[in-house]
């Protein structure tokens, strides 16, 4: 009954089977193997474009590498004030870019508003030698508040960013969850809407540790191989990243897993909404729910063995994963109702 995060889940059986099966025999290292070639082709197919693909093992590595090719050391990356890059990566973007500055923007529901971005860039100091130079926009899909940017919102943000000469990065840690939520195609949610480079997440949705940098502008790919290597993120036995991604993206597994996680979150939200006194903070677009439990209820749930994280003074975060058991969801709702009644 662990709703702490989607990274407390293990890995999907299909992914594990692929690893076991693909482990036999020799394959050339550092990506010169047939599995990696197949994964690249598959991603190009899914995204309907000639993207360059760089598998990595963590989202932080993917995000920071992406920023390092979008933003010079004297540049600025615009992001949400609550974004993973700003808050939860211990300075990885600064490290990989060689000291660039993140420019945090507030925004309702964890999303950057187009107007706020526009206003910030109007005062961004472009061309002024005393200021870091606006270079990139990075935002998270699903956002850290569990909300999905619509395709129109993405296009608006990317349009403003491009209009000011910035490159655009999408942190797709929960890309599949967003895709399922919006019901659009990978191409529509990315390069067709103006994304230049994407961290395509697999880890949170059934892989062990596998992400792919998907680069839609070829000139951004030129440095990435070298930067990945010197960051220690070029796997010698690359096949083991690629096998995960191959299984993940085969036969729609990624979408099925995300759909399951989203459905459990929706089930959880629907259940909690029936409980008086329980408030859900943001639109539940994907697999994350932010709940204002009364303190007694929150403590009661924790005591009963339900795991979730403290988001801020008021909110708890509950995350459903590819393998969340509906029975656990129902148990949580039932326990909440019981505890609420008791507290009332």
């Amino acid at each position: 009954m662990n709703f702490y995060s989607d990274n407390v889940a293990g890995a999907a059986p299909e992914v594990l089977a692929a690893l076991t099966e693909g482990a036999a025999g020799s394959m050339m290292s550092y990506g010169a193997d047939p599995v990696t070639a197949r994964v690249k082709a598959r991603i190009r197919g899914l995204f309907e474009t000639e993207a360059e693909v760089f598998p990595v093992a963590t989202g932080t590595a993917g995000n920071a590498l992406a920023m390092s090719v979008l933003c010079p050391p004297f540049g600025a990356v615009y992001c949400h004030a609550g974004s993973h890059a700003q808050v939860d990566e211990c300075g990885a973007p600064e490290f990989y870019t060689g000291g660039a500055k993140l420019m945090p923007l507030e925004g309702a529901n964890g999303k950057i508003a187009a107007d706020d971005l526009d206003r910030a860039l109007a005062h961004g100091g472009a061309g002024d030698v005393h200021h870091v130079q606006p270079a990139a926009l990075s935002f998270t899909q699903l956002s850290e508040c569990g909300t999905a940017y619509t395709v129109a919102e993405i296009a608006a943000l990317a349009g403003i960013a491009h209009g000011h000469g910035l490159g655009v990065h999408m942190d797709g840690a929960r890309f599949a969850n967003a895709l399922v939520a919006l019901g659009c195609s990978p191409a529509e949610m990315t390069w067709k809407a103006g994304i230049d480079i994407l961290t395509l997440g697999g880890t949170k949705n059934g892989c062990m540790a596998a992400e792919a940098l998907v680069v839609f502008k070829p000139e951004l790919a030129r440095e990435l191989g070298f930067r990945r290597k010197r960051a220690g993120h070029l796997f010698s036995k690359m096949r083991f990243l690629s096998l995960q991604l191959e299984a993940y993206l085969a036969d729609g597994l990624w979408l099925r897993l995300a759909a399951h996680a989203n459905a459990q979150a929706a089930r959880l939200a629907a259940g909690l909404r029936t409980v008086p006194g329980i408030e859900i903070a943001y639109p539940v677009d994907g697999n994350q729910i932010f709940v204002a439990f009364p303190p007694a209820v929150r403590e009661g749930l924790a005591a009963a063995g339900f795991g979730f994280s403290t988001w801020d003074e008021r909110l708890s975060r509950l995350v459903c994963a590819f393998n969340t058991d509906p029975a656990d969801v129902d148990a949580l709702v039932t326990a909440t109702a019981r505890l609420s009644e008791k507290a009332a």
Copy 2:
């Protein structure tokens, strides 16, 4: 019949089984899981000391992180001129240290000689504000030429380094192969001989992608968690690194795998030594052999489907792995003999 490197091998069945078995159920992320706790305890047991342990996925990450806590940005890391850190990491040490300088030392058989280190440090510019400051010694065990530093050699190097105020890092990409070769204990080959921090390799010897930084001086561990995180090397689903390491280190698996690889290399060397005109370049202490094939032989072997790498104008490198088939070894020897005869 791929002798290109030990990283062209897949993963040991025991490691894969552990992953599959450990994938079920929820576990807290970022290392707060019971597997990681067990691995740390096991490593402490094996090394007979209270070391701090940081699992990472690649050797380059491990090495560069180690250097980043030994060496300030204005410091110098002494290493062999042919070392992985100097030649094959695309500047990872420089990246992680914030711009430190590697000071390459020549040395026979891929090993740094104590006298050479002493002489270099005597002219190292310690205290001179114009010079990078000698801060660390890093060497590879097995060396890049397949040779093992003896315990006495390690102690001599570490003694000199410590005498000049340097920290000492061992790149143990092939640690188990060296251990088997020397027949000593992990403790004897490391902290008892003066090693301050070790990259304990698993990837080349049967893991998918798993190494552990083993830190023998507690003050060196203080920054490592933060540095690992900002480098994108803190796995959210850490259990999947730890499961590999746990299986790898259980019941002597790591030593059995290394012993197999070493034995195949010895078999290969013995076989090749019976062929007139074939020269083996360095002592074959572990699982790597460097062979001066006559060009016609080398080309004949390649044409016959034997994979190995070009080391320099004269030498080819052949590496045996945990899963090298003795039949492949014998086939290579037979083919070499046949081609040599033909060429003569």
Copy 3:
């Protein structure tokens, strides 16, 4: 009639004379000259403590070097949202620290409030591997709004910072102006109040280009010589920095120059306050005034040849320098009065 900044002024005649006089003859380079030794002794005398002293040529260099010894690459520097370090140094702190993060705090009158710092540090994520680690407080005296932190305010901030394990840096670009404003001693305004390292500014107050890092904690000085050198800020002909500083600090010149600048700013403020419709935004503690001119007045002043800078939509910044002519001050007041009347 240039009130644009105190850096549009030239240099004090005493400083120039010292340069000319000290230029003759040979002196050892890189700081091993007698002038530098005398300057260090003088600063120790003025600050009544055994500080380490490192002359540099720019305030940005001084500030960034100071932060680089207070804050690790994975650390955070708390500063005012409008501080020079945050806004006007094109990422120098990030560069010198190897990618640390500035944590901007709002605060009235350009000053960080103790409570705000305390609250921010309470949520600073100390010990959390996902967060940059709070490492330093840096604030500007005079602040960027021309206000002076009182000794009590400095002590309060430093106390909170130290209580959380942070080091404390004072950017003293206008140190002398603040000293004159507060009427306290250099020691009282710095180490006695908890400052660990100071950028003692000379450039804005009569030097050509000379600042001194004054380090009150010996352990912070250990790395500074190397860091200054590799940043290209160790002058070979160091005497020319030291000669400026020596003349600047001799016979109270620095205090006389600052007193003059402050007095002109006070005169200007007093004059402008007599003009109806003119608002002065912050307390005028030193040599900077922030004025809300009606647009017509502002444009009229510019057209009449008065130079000043636009601070934001509402405010203009006017700065008096060591050589500001009282007649220019009076002319500005008179012109403002005339233009205001006309506009009314």
Copy 4:
């Protein structure tokens, strides 16, 4: 009688006079002053091309900034093993480039041989993801051994470098001395021979602290303003750098000063060559002489108050400056002769 270095000399009277004269009145800061505009125009005139010009205060800053726009963090800068950048800048190139690697090349008389560069680049690992990528050539004119690259040698090196896709930087710490030695034009010694970016030294030849980055390829200038600022090398009172450079380059002062220094070195070399047992190590092209004194002579000279530096076990370095007194030169020769006789 200080022959320790040309940086033990003070500053030329013309430079000091310009500073004093130009210090009066207000000028806009950060380079928006008329003196800086005039200096840029003068340098363009002297170099007969539309170069971009960036004044800085130290050669280390100039060199490191130059490399930072030629070489990415994962790149390599080829230089002489004895070059200032490699040996004497405490890692400044690594710092400014974000961790690039210097690739030191041996070479007689302090000069890189074209063949050696060609051979090194042929094995430079271009395109190999495991290797730092060859990006720049940097060499020193005069070399650290006091020798001048001929125009043909420069063109050969630059041709090879460009042929491999590298940019070319000249560290012109003693540019004027080389120019006088070769008798060619600034254009011939730089961009006409393939130099992309030059550190034009002034400090060692009569300035207090003034160098200019002269950028012959406009695309290399794009980032320099930002990089200079964030390195703390954008002077607020820029006029004081520009006034030095203006005076230095006016009416051939720089050439006269260099000619004097070179002439004194020639006089010194000629004198020493008449003394039996005294060996001069490299061609004396400019103002530096490397002498193998018998130990007794060397000690005698030091005891007699002659200052010079120890270059290595065998050689002493003696440097003449713009203000070296011929009487001091003659005194040194006489003393050497006397001591040699006594020792014999």
